[in-house]
Amino acid sequence: MSAAPIITLIDYDAGNLASLEGALDRMGLAYRRATSPDQAAATGPIVLPGVGHFDAAQRSLAERGWWRALPELVAEGRPLLGICLGLQLLAEGSEEAPRAAGLGLIPGIVRRLGPGVKVPHMGWSQVRQHMAHPALPDPKGAWLYFVHSYALEPSTESVYLADHGRPFAAIEARGMVMGFQPHPEKSGRPGLLLLQSALTWMGARTPVPEEPCN
């Protein structure tokens, strides 16, 4: 029997794992926490959550060995989903930490929101489709929950866009690397459906109950 893919949740003191785990439990997706790369599941998507400062998160990931390991895992074809600050860390860099580089797994720079709007952008905003994606249908103006002061500039390959003073990338995807600026685990039912559909597309599976022996 081959091991079913299990979602690896990166645990580095910069993410709200309790909420994410609750969401995965409600969807019936199998996951495990991993503080270092050697604890990652052998297959299945890796989720990089994140709240807080870009450079603090970057340091914390580096101390735990993830900063080196993530590009290698992605090069081996492992799917990677960044959420909120997790998305920003995937980019090339951020104005929040001009001297620290990002992982560079998604092209583009993360820039501060504003001027002319309240920052942080905190609350429910509507998203719209920009590019078609096999896992992410037209959101049709769905409301998702955002909490952030910086955002990735839109690109021609942004999947969803949202606006706060200016348009920004709400969901960005490059192959099996994907980033969500909103918190899908905090966005009610539409958020859970998006998370489920992204993770399932990345290979996550609902655990199959064991068959009885006879």
Partner: protein
């Protein structure tokens, strides 16, 4: 602009949601998780839990219900009550709260707000401020649930909180709280000039009051009894607000 938010506020004591009943103390109205599920289903945009447990042991039970709520709830929630150091906030955020609210402790030691913002980002830091109209100061800041006057003017304090690193202000008018006469609109007029989001609290008695508060610049409206007693169901309130051309998540 993000949608205007409708936020039920829940008082928690020793792990149970309670409601004050005049002259009769507190009545138990359920487990935080039950209420959280109900409000999630009713399309509340966010929840605020204020833990009014006095003793330290009671605080210990807090992490456990915060964890349960985080596990069940698919909308954001704030937890406040007795947060006076970074470690208090860390344990709440670790348990799954999205934001922490600070009140008296921030007024007594303003650096706390900066420490929290530095440790967790300002989006995690809600500064709760209780104010009363005052002939000398315009609006005066009160501590300890509105029982202890300070020498601070609300206007100065709100701008200072913004400078210190608060990500959001939860502003309660003690004059209006519990009256059902509507929010203190002149208060909201100037407070909404702050560059950070403003949650209006105190005085909601009718759906038109919420509309007024949002039209006077509040980014979110908070109430307790109206929602707990189902006097004004949240879906009805949100439909009403949307009919009046506000940006509302339905």
């Amino acid at each position: 602009m993000p949608a205007k938010r409708v936020i039920p506020c829940l008082d928690v004591k020793q792990g149970r949601v309670v409601k004050g009943v005049q002259f009769k103390g507190l009545r138990d109205i359920g487990h935080p998780v039950e209420l959280a599920r109900r409000y999630d289903a009713e399309s509340a945009d966010e929840l605020v839990f204020l833990d009014i447990s006095a003793s330290l042991e009671a605080r210990g039970t807090r992490e456990s219900w915060v964890r349960d709520v985080a596990h069940e709830l698919s909308i954001p929630f704030t937890v406040g009550g007795g947060v006076s150091k970074v470690e208090d906030a860390r344990s709440l955020l670790r348990a799954g709260a999205d934001k922490v609210a600070v009140n008296s402790a921030a007024s007594l030691r303003p650096a706390l707000v900066t420490e929290l913002a530095d440790a967790f980002g300002r989006q995690c830091v809600v500064a709760a401020v209780d104010v009363k109209r005052d002939p000398k100061l315009g609006w005066r800041v009160y501590l300890k649930g509105g029982t202890e006057p300070t020498e601070r003017s609300a206007k100065d304090w709100l701008w200072e909180l913004n400078e210190l690193g608060a990500g959001e202000i939860l502003l309660t008018s003690m004059d209006r709280d519990g009256t059902g006469d509507g929010f203190d609109l002149p208060l909201l007029d100037w407070a909404s000039e702050l560059p950070i989001p403003l949650i209006a609290s105190g005085g909601a008695g009718h759906e038109v009051h919420f509309l007024e508060a949002l039209e006077h610049g509040a980014d979110a409206v908070l109430a307790a009894t109206l929602f707990h007693e189902n006097l004004l169901p949240i879906p009805r309130l949100k439909a009403y607000l949307a009919e009046h051309d506000l940006s509302i998540r339905i």
